[in-house]
């Protein structure tokens, strides 16, 4: 068998690659052993995981661990892994053991020896001491804390105050939140929580802990010395009391679920330390009459009136946009001070919040006012008052009135309900304005006032239809032109015409008892049909050729005989010079017509 050059190259390549690979694998590496155990604290019924990892070799038998009184150690599995990094290949094997305490106490797994590739290795204990306790780890619970972070030193009734609720918990706390922090009592209103909490790791007394923060806002509902308190529900996994602590073997389910199915769910309620807060009432002194209940910091972003030029009775929209931070949801509309010169409607307000809690944003107030006379020259006064908790006093914002141009409306524009102007008076004009008299006869009537032209698509439809017809006509014209240039088509057309003309002659001659005319025309028709089928002209065909053509095309004998009779009789009448009416039988025409039909059908 001959090996091609390509085959050789592939073979050399694979050989080279295999050598390189095996060289890397087979190359002697340093054998390293590492051991790990988690956790350092266990409760009865919980199990720990001991892992021993060997790198730099393969196919090593699992180590035999020393017996420890009070602990049950069971081999679980072996995992092998080949790592390739920067072209270097290393192998690693991990042996997992389940360690399950049988009793409470302090334990330690002693150092042990392990024979790997004929060499003895001393494997050091992964943990100096293993603490086994009863039930839940008390430290877990003890280290849980619910904290209230409130930066404001003094707060007022109705003020919206930012607050953060923080849950401090051990780093590997075996639990989850059951519910979000809830406010206790009815002195404060909590504005809820938006989104997820922000989690971070913190170090308290050198111990790492996790802290979950829940930012929110509170509003005090009453003044006086109040306490702010929160609680939160937690769900923890605790080992079942019925755990077979003294059992000698871990069963199948344990090996799969790691003992999780032997855990119970326990609910824990965590309460914050009560925080004493002195809630101040809003001061009576200096409170404006038009106080809207706004507490915070606000500014007037814009104040406008549209349109600024109107007639008496036309509505004007006055818009005031207030921007700031505070209890935006509780601000009622400011009052536009209108008198008899104005008709005003209940204002509308809308809020565009800039944060998720609606603490900051813009609130728009819209007033519809209608001027009642043309003496008005500016918008009615308006002011927005609020309580500033930082300053501890009320503030009032008054935008400048907007100049308006009010003109007199036509007499009938205003409603009588709105004005006390007199009703329209036609009595004087009625005598002066005489209308032209009625018509006495109907000249022309219609069914409906609506005409086709009132339909939006009337004219475009007409044009569209005419264009379609035009295109159709152009198409027909082009087709005819093409046909005229087609000689075969023209020949067929001429033959068809000749047949039609002779057919008329046959009928005419028969009715006039003109035998010569009848047979001559009949002969011509047969010749034309043969020419049509033979793709020749009738002038170039002899009667013998025609009969031969029909014979070749398997025309039935009866028809052939009749064709011969026609040809013979034509010659006879033509050359004898007589007009023998006897040659015309009563059924000659019908017989001939049947022949024509048969010929047409035969050659179809």
């Amino acid at each position: 068998m001959r090996i091609t050059m390509t085959g050789k190259i592939i073979f050399i390549y694979f050989l080279f690659f295999t050598l390189i690979l095996n060289y890397k694998i087979l190359a002697k590496e340093d054998i390293e052993v590492s051991i790990d155990f988690e956790p350092t604290q266990l409760t009865l019924g919980r199990q720990g995981l001991l892992t021993i990892t060997v790198s730099g070799t393969q196919n090593v038998k699992p180590p035999t661990l020393p017996n420890v009184d009070g602990l049950h150690i069971k081999f679980l599995n072996t995992q092998s892994r080949i790592n390739m990094y920067n072209g270097n290949i290393s192998m690693e094997q991990t042996y997992s053991f389940a360690v399950m305490p049988k009793k409470i106490g302090e334990f330690s797994i002693p150092n042990f020896e392990w024979k790997i590739d004929g060499k003895k290795f001393t494997v050091e204990s992964p943990t100096k001491k293993l603490f086994v306790q009863e039930g839940i780890i008390e430290n877990d619970i003890l280290s849980l804390e619910l904290e209230i972070n409130l930066n404001e030193s003094k707060i007022y009734v109705g003020q919206m105050v930012p607050v953060s609720i923080v849950i401090h918990a051990p780093l590997h706390f075996p639990g989850n939140l059951k519910s979000l922090p809830e406010i206790q009592g009815n002195s404060f209103n909590n504005h809820g929580y938006i989104g997820n909490s922000s989690n971070k790791i913190e170090k308290i007394n050198g111990v790492e802990q996790q802290a979950a923060s829940f930012p929110t806002y509170i509003t005090p509902l009453k003044s006086g010395d109040e306490t702010l308190e929160y609680k939160v529900g937690l769900i923890m996994q605790v080992p079942k009391a019925t755990m077979p602590a003294g059992s000698n073997a871990l069963n199948f389910y344990e090996s799969i679920f790691g003992g999780a199915m032997f855990n119970d769910i326990e609910e824990v309620e965590l309460k914050s330390k009560p925080k004493a807060i002195n809630v101040l009432p809003l001061p009576e002194n200096g409170r404006p009459d038009n106080f809207t209940g706004a507490i915070g910091q606000f500014t007037i972003e814009s104040f406008s009136a549209t349109p600024e030029e109107v007639q008496v009775g036309d509505p004007i929209t006055v818009k005031m946009v207030v921007k700031g931070s505070g209890n935006m949801d509780r601000i009622s509309s400011p009052i536009l001070i209108t008198d008899n010169n104005w008709k005003s409607y209940k204002p509308k307000s809308s809020f565009n919040k800039e944060d998720l809690f609606g603490f900051t944003g813009t609130k728009t107030f819209e007033f519809i006012i209608i001027p009642q006379n043309e003496q008005i020259n500016q918008t009615p006064p308006i002011s927005f008052s609020f309580f500033n908790p930082k300053l501890g006093r009320y503030s009032e914002l008054t935008p400048n009135s907007i100049p308006l141009k009010i003109t007199t409306a036509p007499k009938t524009i205003l409603s009588n309900e709105l004005t006390n102007q007199p009703q329209r008076d036609h009595s004087n004009s009625e005598n002066n304005i005489n209308i032209l008299p009625i018509k006495l006869e109907i000249k022309k009537s219609v069914k409906s006032l609506i005409s086709p032209i009132c339909n939006k698509i009337f004219t475009p439809s007409l044009i569209g239809i005419s264009v379609i017809i035009g295109i159709f006509l152009i198409y027909i014209k082009r087709r005819n032109l093409e046909n005229k240039q087609n000689t075969a088509y023209i020949k067929q057309l001429n033959i068809q015409k000749a047949i039609q003309i002779n057919l008329q002659k046959v009928q005419k001659s028969y009715s006039k008892k003109n035998a010569e005319g009848f047979y001559h025309a009949a002969s011509m028709i047969i010749l034309e049909i043969a020419a049509k089928k033979h793709n020749k002209t009738s002038q170039t065909l002899s009667t013998d050729e025609v009969i031969e053509f029909f014979e070749k095309n398997n025309l039935n004998q009866e028809a052939l005989a009749f064709i011969k009779i026609i040809f013979d009789t034509t010659d006879l009448l033509k050359f004898s010079g007589i007009n023998n009416e006897e040659k015309l039988e009563p059924n000659s025409l019908s017989k001939f017509e049947s022949l024509i039909n048969e010929l047409e059908n035969h050659f179809q």
């Binding site: 007499k411 009938t412 209308i435 000249k443 939006k456 004219t459 006509l473 152009i474």
Partner: protein
């Protein structure tokens, strides 16, 4: 031929049916019983419509001091005979009485008023057909440049016809305010605040209708927009 006789019969029968009621209405009008005249004119309009019926009904409403309805029927009469001097005169007088200054007509409106909408429909049809025929003839005939030119002229005439078509299609949304000081509401409710008040006889255009909202349509009159109760508003082309 038979069809022609049938059409003539139908036309004559509708006119004949309308005529006695129309005559009675005229008699009532002449006896200054305007309410009766209005009822009879309205009865006669159930079978067919004519310039004379709408004109007379406009007069009867005028005499009955229902000026909004009077304007409405003069406008209807002018649909059928757009250049009728008497209808235009009576309409002008009614507007004067109501102290309303109607908006000036646009050039297109002036042009449209040369003929009635019905006549324009026929003209439109005729021009398109003649134009098309001439255009197609030149396809079949050689050296018929004159025919071709006329054909193109006719086809170009279709452009103003399309504009006219558009104008008339927009006219069907125009109506008349029938009562005095009709409120234009912010919302389609009787209790909602009014943005403006429209004078009787004012022209307004329906901007939108909502099938789910009964008795109210959103209209625009001059610079004012709002919802109007349909009891106070009626379309001219209805």
């Amino acid at each position: 031929m038979n069809k022609l006789i049938l059409i003539l019969f139908l036309i004559s029968s509708t006119i004949l049916h309308a005529t006695p009621v129309f005559t009675l209405a005229n008699e009532a009008y002449q006896h200054q019983d305007f309410t009766q005249a209005i009822n009879l004119y309205k009865e006669s309009l159930k079978t067919s419509q004519s310039f004379e019926q709408h004109f007379n009904l406009g007069n009867a409403y005028y005499e009955n001091e229902e000026y909004g309805l009077s304007i409405l029927h003069y406008e209807k009469a002018l649909i059928l005979e757009p250049r009728n001097a008497e209808a235009l005169e009576n309409l002008k007088k009614t507007y004067e009485l109501l102290q309303i200054h109607p908006e000036n007509s646009s050039t297109l409106e002036h042009f449209a008023r040369l003929f009635s909408a019905n006549t324009w429909s026929w003209i439109c049809l005729g021009i398109v057909i003649i134009g098309s025929i001439l255009f197609y003839i030149q396809i079949y005939c050689l050296q018929k440049n004159l025919i071709k030119t006329f054909g193109w002229i006719c086809l170009f005439l279709t452009l103003p016809l399309i504009a006219l078509n558009f104008f008339y299609s927009t006219q069907t949304n125009i109506g008349i305010v029938l009562q005095e000081n009709v409120p234009l509401k912010v919302s389609p409710t009787n209790t909602g605040p009014a943005t403006a008040f429209l004078a009787e006889g004012s022209k307004a255009k329906i901007i939108k209708e909502n099938k789910n909202i009964e008795n109210f349509v959103f209209i625009k009159s001059g610079n004012n927009e709002g919802w109007i109760n349909t009891n106070n508003f009626q379309l001219i082309w209805k």
